[in-house]
Symmetry: C3
Subunit: 330 residues, 3 copies
Amino acid sequence: MLEYSEHPSNFEKKDTIQGNGKSRFYGMDIISVKQFRRQDLNIIFDVARDMRNIVERDGSLDLLKGKVLANLFYEPSTRTSSSFAAAVQRLGGNIIQINNVTFSSVSKGEELRDTIRTMESYADAIVLRHPEQGSANIAAQVCQKPIINAGDGIGEHPTQALLDMFTIVEELGGLDGLTVTMLGDLRYGRTIHSLAKLLALYDVKLHFVAPDLLRAPSDLVADLVENGMKPCKHVELASVMPDTDVLYVTRVQRERFEDQSAYEEVKESYVVNNDTMNMAKNRMIVMHPLPRVDEISREVDHDPRAAYFRQMEYGMFVRMALLALVFGKV
Amino acid sequence: MLEYSEHPSNFEKKDTIQGNGKSRFYGMDIISVKQFRRQDLNIIFDVARDMRNIVERDGSLDLLKGKVLANLFYEPSTRTSSSFAAAVQRLGGNIIQINNVTFSSVSKGEELRDTIRTMESYADAIVLRHPEQGSANIAAQVCQKPIINAGDGIGEHPTQALLDMFTIVEELGGLDGLTVTMLGDLRYGRTIHSLAKLLALYDVKLHFVAPDLLRAPSDLVADLVENGMKPCKHVELASVMPDTDVLYVTRVQRERFEDQSAYEEVKESYVVNNDTMNMAKNRMIVMHPLPRVDEISREVDHDPRAAYFRQMEYGMFVRMALLALVFGKV
Amino acid sequence: MLEYSEHPSNFEKKDTIQGNGKSRFYGMDIISVKQFRRQDLNIIFDVARDMRNIVERDGSLDLLKGKVLANLFYEPSTRTSSSFAAAVQRLGGNIIQINNVTFSSVSKGEELRDTIRTMESYADAIVLRHPEQGSANIAAQVCQKPIINAGDGIGEHPTQALLDMFTIVEELGGLDGLTVTMLGDLRYGRTIHSLAKLLALYDVKLHFVAPDLLRAPSDLVADLVENGMKPCKHVELASVMPDTDVLYVTRVQRERFEDQSAYEEVKESYVVNNDTMNMAKNRMIVMHPLPRVDEISREVDHDPRAAYFRQMEYGMFVRMALLALVFGKV
């Protein structure tokens, strides 16, 4: 059974609209990776796999005919927004796209609450991207219809983590027994944090490779340890590359360094190129949440182990699966 | 029969495309509340009620399959734009969303005329939001296809007034005999002006509660008096609250006051909170066009008489009804 | 047979996905007018004519049901973007609208490549508008799905040229034997350049009327001469107006002139008004890519020979035809 320890509001929403033979995902808010257990991921991945087959065969289906999804983006995100737009339309549903909503941050969520209540008058579910951590939770509390968190500041981006997991499963056949190496900015990357928490559900060995300034936060490490993981910290990639099944790359941004000479010193160590790939197994994958700048050289794009563009496509299937489940159509 | 005294262009458009058993709404521009008589409102509300039933049962219908609506917004309005987007899609039609069109105001409508003629090449009807009063009329003159005014500066916003009326009818069962109190900025609020004019079609008692600086304009009052209404002016809400069936709240903006001490003096009087509601009837409603800032305290949101979020939903049904009627599908 | 001398990438894309009885347009990138020969134009115009008939009768069709088109606009273009949005939706397909993508021009196309590869994960074809010449070619090289160039800086805008051609054919019954006069800024107008190149496929007499500063570029003239055309240069319109079948007007912009007195001297000569039209044949047309400012007086709008608004409508039919062909649905 799903547990919602961090999101009690979900209980009520489910209680109100469930009880008619629908799956436990029906009407659910998707706020945090903490909502999911292994059996939930299995369901999502099974449906995502079905979605992939259907899209590759027919392009789309009619599951969400007549449904309206609001894509409410308080900050731009071409990739995530387009992915949801494609997903709902390939399911036969409609989309209301709302970009660059202006808002006053002094309102402490009041304006967000009103906007959410307005949008739920029009739409059947709301995808929310908002620069402030916790905003998805605020939205879920006032909204009778499902909220899907598409990134709340430095908080969470659960659908990204789910698509990352699905990518690994589809590319490598499973998760247990894998060695996952996370590279780059492990301090500020919410993508990394969410993925690491989900990986803790499996028997995965985790390597953290980052410059001192951008190490994984201690509360993340504590959370992982509590869940049975022992992430190993490294400063250089070379030593762990030969054992790595999944190399998850994020960008080391110059702006994070006060001391520019410190940046210049480390930046080369966090670029993946063909030399890096020569150290790697034949069967492994390189992932990246995109957009990338130069932390993965273009030459790697031609390597069959470069999975970051396929990752985008898996993302659409995972979002189709989530929408179908949340709308109770599976 | 519909009269179009202020909009002779409608005659021609109707004449050209009507005469085939379609209702008198077929092909009509929706420019001003002055177009509507009681029997027109009854038709719109009947269709809106049908739309509500269908949406609550099925989510959507196929009435406008293959139709394309252009949502042409020269200034942002998340609420209105999303409402029309949801309405046309729930009717099975498609939308072209055009935001933040850049334009030169020195062109005196020339650029608008060209843009409208371009958009009518692509779409079957055009929803227009424009910062300049009279722009919807200009658009209707050059356009062979229906124009729906979604706000033209300090001019009109007829679909807002229609949804306000529908909200009252659905919440309170009718309009005749009601006491409607309009609170706040009655000088600049086009919402208030349009709604007051429509209420003049009914046997409604009107209270205007506003600070001196923000009183209803004299031409509005003259117009209402000419139509048999005798709006009563007040400075304080307390005295009229016990008799009020509909409290329509708008915001008193600090920027309207040159003398900030004058603002500080009055601002408290125009905030609706639980104390205000304690003075009110058990069966009455509080309305607001949204967005609100603090003119209605959040504590009132939990009061069942707070109708401002339901008002948004009624809005979608009214817009669905208007689109269905204008497209001749009812 | 289609030749793709300038776009070898097309060969591969076609080879991969063709060979199943589909037309030669199936899976094709639409990058440049140089891709088209007379027989290709005939096919496009035939399909566009069918589209027009179907839209006028039924409004839309279901040819692209389940397909998703990405409308990727790196710079705003209300007309072109709306035209494609209407086209794909009238074909029964869906659209993902992406406006104002932020990008760093120092990236020399790298960011574009990644964005294209992301969008092709979601969509079945991509319409691209980009400020940099050559960007559509870059996109086509990395994309497995069809790219439709909707303007790449001072490069090409092939669908505009195709709709211009279709307008002439529909309005005047054909192209051979016509006299086409191009007026205004012939130096910077990519519309003019693309159209002239396509006209070279036919037996057309070409007049270029422009101020000295804005003459057609010599490489364009050389290209035309090589293809058997002998464009005649003029400074004044009056002498050629009586023989003109198609007057194609573009704007002479003040900003193009360093010497403002030079601008003041010529500007009147490049305005089309009723006096200009009085010199023209009874059966001829005036075209303009829009938006216009004052290079065509508003009084001309009422002249039946003013074809520039009908031109927009032809544009939607041509884009519907291209989409149907590229998706292999004809």
